[in-house]
Subunit: 277 residues, 3 copies
């Protein structure tokens, strides 16, 4: 069912504009190429409007936030919204510094991204810890999405997605992708992926390509991207040899995306749907 969203990325070959951190940028570029998309990285205010205009989607990642690129993020974000291009916000490290939290909040309010993808701590920072978000406090995300707390987490995600008018994605041991109505729960992936820098950043890049190629089905496209990343983590792990560690695993995951077809995703995706309320 979700394989078609991957196939559509390979057919559309969208060009994706990334304003992202310098730590994991190379892996983001290679995973975009692996899924059939093309990356452009550009973060100077003098050119981000031009660049985002020729692209099909915009990926904003605040991983190495600095005062010279925040104006670029705002400019590019507004341009993309005006042109109807999907915008994804990855609020890396929101909560770790006031500057990140405030910038993430500002990007959220001034751009209105189509999708926000983060880990639980980041998503909590942008939801329950914000003024005006008190409604969500009771049904809050705890430290991790667990089987026991899943139903509660699903409701929390749908509530917050509705409040923020976006698709909200939280990744961890269990991944959740929600809009105001529907929530997908994805159980692909491996814990060892957390020992590689930037698997989250890579997923955000990948997901932007899925949104750009499937603009009519944003929630499903985001869920498909989550499943692709997780399934690639499983396939890559199966190819690990004795002595291989996190550096090699990084390559094997991107390699697995490179070879993945829609049919393989249909077979391997572990996606559960929480139907519209």
């Amino acid at each position: 069912m979700f394989g078609k969203y991957l196939d559509r990325v390979r057919e559309a070959a969208p060009l994706i504009h990334n304003i992202t951190n310098y730590v994991t940028v190379n892996d983001v570029a290679n995973i975009l190429l692996a899924c059939g998309a093309s990356p452009i990285m550009a973060d100077d205010p003098n050119e981000v409007e031009d660049i985002t205009s020729i692209c099909a989607g915009l990926n904003i990642n605040i991983g190495t936030l600095n005062s010279h690129t925040v104006p670029s993020m705002l400019l590019a974000g507004r341009t993309a919204v005006r042109l109807g291009h999907p915008v994804l916000l990855d609020p890396v490290g929101a909560g770790a510094s006031s500057y990140r939290t405030e910038t993430a909040q500002r990007l959220l309010e001034e751009i209105g991204p189509d999708v926000i993808r983060g880990n639980i701590s980041e998503i909590r920072t942008l939801t329950v810890n914000q003024a005006g978000a008190s409604r969500g406090v009771d049904a809050s995300l705890t430290d991790a999405v667990t089987e026991e707390g899943l139903r509660e987490a699903v409701d929390f995600m749908r509530d917050q997605a509705e409040r923020l008018h976006c698709v909200l994605v939280v990744t961890g041991a269990i991944d959740l992708v929600a809009d105001g109505q529907t929530c997908y729960c994805i159980r692909n992936g491996r814990p060892e992926m957390g020992k590689i820098t930037g698997t989250g950043c890579q997923l955000s890049g990948l997901m932007t390509a899925f949104l750009a190629a499937n603009p009519e089905h944003k929630t499903e496209a985001a869920a498909a991207a989550v499943a692709v990343m997780g399934l690639a983590g499983e396939i890559g792990w199966d190819r690990m040899e004795p002595g291989d560690g996190n550096a090699t695993y990084r390559n094997r995951i991107i390699d697995a995306v490179y070879h993945m077809k829609g049919t393989a995703l249909d077979r391997g995706a572990k996606i559960e749907i929480y139907a519209p309320r």
Copy 2:
């Protein structure tokens, strides 16, 4: 015949100053080490003159152009020219934004690089799409250098190289390296190299080392670098195992450069010469 230029790089072990993008910079550094050269990356106006002075060549790449490094590019470029060090310009993304196009044009005019290396779109932007370049419009590069249009492309490249007083390099399915008189046509490489981010950036770094080590034979040195990169792409591909994708291929190409000797290049290079007019 071209193997000696590679051997000379390993003997001279030139130190290369790179002002380049943060996407592919690590691979540029590793491919420079793989060919026997040494990389220095430095892009602050406070130090680029010092750094370029202790180096043997300068590689300028506008892949993640920003307003803080453009003055560094100009300063370093003028210093390198004054000292007689070869300068290569890689106009990444010229044509994708006004800022890139104008900056590339400005670097071209104010520095006068020894070599310009880009893909067809970038080279077109700096040649036929510029005012004053109308002479080249008729004999223009089309979307790709093809066997059918090769003779025309060769003439175009020689004309533009002469007009720009540089060695002009366009890479794609067929690679061309031209000065005003001679054009080399290189048929090494594999299409899958386009699925790795930064193979062009890597080639520009590698080529700068070849220019620095072979300053009396710039056109031939540039052609040799193109053949090394393409042959490494072929050798790396032969080492690919089932399941390997673009991330692993990236490593295998650099690994192949690491082991390549001049004799292997002589055997594997597919270089055709279009003799001086």
Copy 3:
């Protein structure tokens, strides 16, 4: 004996703040994850105090120094010192430009790092080539630490460590880790590690994690980190297959750190102690 310092890193899982260059930053992040620590990269003056406050150690690397991050380095460094967090300075390229030399000297004076790690050229620049360091000139480091000059180098390192009130680490064919009293001489590693960009940067990141997890034994923790990196270089080399080169070797070294246990370090470390004077 030194294995316990590695085991302690895995137990403590320290969060390490890195202000480092954009060339090798991804490898620094992955090697920190490989040893059981976690990386944060943040270099904007607006947030470095917040970030360093939530971390257990600070790694300052001037590899791609620029005028926007020098204030961040100073701010973060002073904050870390005030909080009692270990600070490591990696003076990449000190001596290559006046700007780097002066900035490294300034960071040294205004922060007072716990550890300085560099190659011989960099350490010389910060010691014998500085005014006020004339006492060390006679017993200077020559171009490399050799078996013949080892005793002299050991004395030099201890003198300079005492003068600078820090642990001083010089890496090369033979590695030395000294405080004012004791000097450890480590003979792990392979010369081919010099053909990979950033093995020094990686070691600095790794070492900061060792300092953060073993704050009562800084000299020994630094020596243990040097041995881990060198031993990983040996283990990684043993896993090289025909055709593998520097790109693959890079991954294999990080992979080896990922799997290394304290017991393996105890078996493989080649550490000689020059007892307190």
